[in-house]
Amino acid sequence: MKKIISCTINGVKQELYLDTRKTLLKMLREDLELMGVHLGCGGGDCGACTVLLNGEPVTSCLVLAADCEGSEITTVEGVQQDDKLHPLQQSMVEKGGIQCGFCTPGMVMNSLALLRENPQPTESEVRHALSGNLCRCTGYAKIVEAVMDVKNLDRITG
């Protein structure tokens, strides 16, 4: 069965005619070519496909696109502001919280959700927030440093 889904993705209103069984992940990758949404395990365990659904982080491989009617969705492609890196992105780059980069979009989205709620998280709060995101390269230490070191917090909460 197919149906029309309307939602706002990275600030742009979209109307898509989709199979009701399609996941949000597939909609973002296949219909909107947002390739920063990565398919890792396909079972909600690795966190690589994390996006924000109405501001809340979700693993998009476990969400049906049809359930996103009227929702606001942000992917890693929608995090930059005025073509400038968001302070969180800047911090991830500078602190070297990135190696192969496959987990990075999910890490960014989950960290963004944390910082919006809690602009100055402690190390244990960062670890708790990112415990659903697997990274095989970095050993996480620099990701924690990057999230804790985000400058210009006003730009996040705004």
Binding site: E33, L34, M35, G36, V37, H38, L39, G40, C41, G42, G43, D45, C46, A48, T75, V76, E77, V79, Q80, L85, Q89, M92, V93, E94, G96, I98, Q99, C100, G101, F102, C103, T104, P105, V108, R127, H128, L130, S131, N133, L134, C135, R136, C137, T138, G139, Y140, A141, K142, I143, V144
Partner: protein
Amino acid sequence: MKVVGKHIPHDSAVGHVTGEALFVDDLPSAKDELIVDFIASPVAHGKIIRFNFEELSQLDGIAGIFTHADLPGHNLFGPVIQDERFLAEDIVEYVGQPIAVIAGESRKAVRQAKKQLQLEIEELAPVFTIDEALAAKQFIGEARELKKGDFEKVWNEAEHKIAGTFLCNGQEQFYLESQAALAWRGENGEILVHSSSQNPTEIQEVVAEALGLGFHEVVCVCKRMGGGFGGKETQAVIPAVMAALVAAKTGRSARVAYTKDDDMRSTGKRHPYKIYYKAGFTGAGKITGVKFDIYSNGGAAADLSTAILERTLLHSDNSYFIPNLVFRAMICKTNFPPNTAFRGFGGPQGMANIENVLQEISIVLKKDALEVRRLNCYGHNDQNVTPYGQIVQNHMLPEIIDQLAETSSYKKRLTEVAEFNRKSVTHLRGLALTPLKFGISFTTSFLNQGNALVNVYKDGTVQVSTGGTEMGQGLNTKIRQLVAEEFAISYDDVRIMITSTEKNNNTSPTAASAGTDLNGMAAVNACQKIRRNLTEFASRYFSAPENGIVPSIEHIHFEAGSVYDDRLPENKLTFRKLVLQAYMGQVSLGERGFYKTPGVNLNRETGKGNPFFYFTSGAAVSEVLIDRFTGQLKLERSDILMDIGESINPGIDRGQIIGGFIQGVGWVTNEDLRYSDKGQLLSYSPTTYKIPNIQDLPDIFNLETLENPQHKINIRRSKAVGEPPLMLCLSVWMAVKHALSSVRNDITPRLNLPATAEEILQRLTELNGDLSNPETTAVRATESEVSLVSLPSISG
């Protein structure tokens, strides 16, 4: 404008945080693209009786099903021994082994066709464990032996002896990006493959051979991998051939992207090992001789197992001088996916075994394990010869151990741990310091070569291509730095281009930690050729015979983006202007560089030689907390000290060290590959296979590097850093053993690897239980005559 030695972010970092950096499966689909999947063996060993592939190929949306009979070339491949079938013929040898390639218009069409599969296989008796393979005498390759001195003599005369069995399990690479490839058929039947591979040259060659093409008719490119860790050194071949076969047969572009589940079920892993060890030693704890009978579980085909076993032999000493030894080693053939490269490449298993031996010596002698390790550690002027005859030179192993013991307050904490263990009825603590010495170079000596292409454009910017592949380790960033430094230009004016067999031929895999050493040196070699051309041109350009300034290359300098003659420094030209002038002066601005590592060799007959250009070394001290009732383990603190020479990029190297260490911690603690009694992997996704999570980071984590003024070789006096830090994880494993050894003092506790909560709990139960029970595996340390395990003989 110094670039080398600076912390410059990874060159794809911005692309990754914005989602702009693409992986293979992110590349746009061509209109005619086919989705490629495979039909895998459901059994570990069996004879294919019949299947309905013909019927499936007629289904709607299916473009074709291809078996080994459809290969225009040959079906056999393998990096060392050509014993692996790309598609099974009449016999299947592991669960997940590809039998046929299926191509469809959509994933849905392929999925639906696979549901209608009828595959009849007559099951044959499988062999899974090393013991079963030994009983069935199923081996891969030849037995290997390394001998030094007279082990039997020192064993018979030894003041103290231990013997036992070391057992370790495998490890899944768990790169986040699963295996993937895209293929296109071009004019005249040429094939282009885009592969997530550490070894594009091997993909090029195997695709050509499978399709019956010349190597010149196939191009393989790799932009980046979402992690490799060795798992894409050889095993990217099968998906690449699948895509290429479909493209060749149908003329349409073809895409294959394994699901994580299929990837974990059908690809090889780090080798499980079983090692029978005997060690003789003095009352002070000095090893007089060891004998190791080493068996690896190779899986169903050779893959890289022979090279991996060789590295185990060459790392069974770790950082310790052993005067008399016999190492015998053999690969067992079993019905698992062919085991393959994984960071450390056989080194970790050999090193874990000897660390276990050292720990047991300390337990038997009731000494501090650090004292025993320090006593046996390689020295500078004596006790510095490895089992294979290479002298450990210019190293700082004793200094590293001493400095780390000091900065981590080892002695004080050891006392505190003992005090804690005396008092606590609920928990146990353990503390261990283990050193690391890892040989850098491929032990297959001819692989130690690299080539690079450097093109300087008329605006003074530079493109560099090498055979090295980027998998997150920062190779491209480091090469950009090296090239910018050679021309004294800005880092931003250099770009590293996609890795392609079209530009760099006959390349070695990006492996053995040698990516920067080989490809960086080759790039620098090309830069030096261009610089020579430019210098010669500049010397003429700046000459002023009327003022007595004759052309002289000695006076030409490249500095901060400019070039000048030091006799007329005010006449300097920017690099960009000089390049344009040189172009108009018909000077070559593109060169190819080549590098081979000097002086590395290994005689496989005698087991002697200098297989390594140098060693990367370090040490770690870790403290663990164990719940006595559940066996649950918490890594509380780790301190690391490494000698990585003069770092080209300290930020990237720090990431490699932390990442490698934590990956190793996964291997020694929670990563538990579990199979059914039919050989099906049960822990085939992150729901059941637990790689380290962010919560597994130690609460206190210190990392330092130290200066080694003696290290004067290799590119910019740096050292390889990719694999070595993984083996620092042995400090965690040995800290567990240390904790167990405090339960009672008349027993040497046994500990298999990984030390999962289950494993720890089982050992605690044994230690707390009745030792007369024949089931118990704990070894009595007080026995004067050690009853030895009967050692299976190795032929050859």
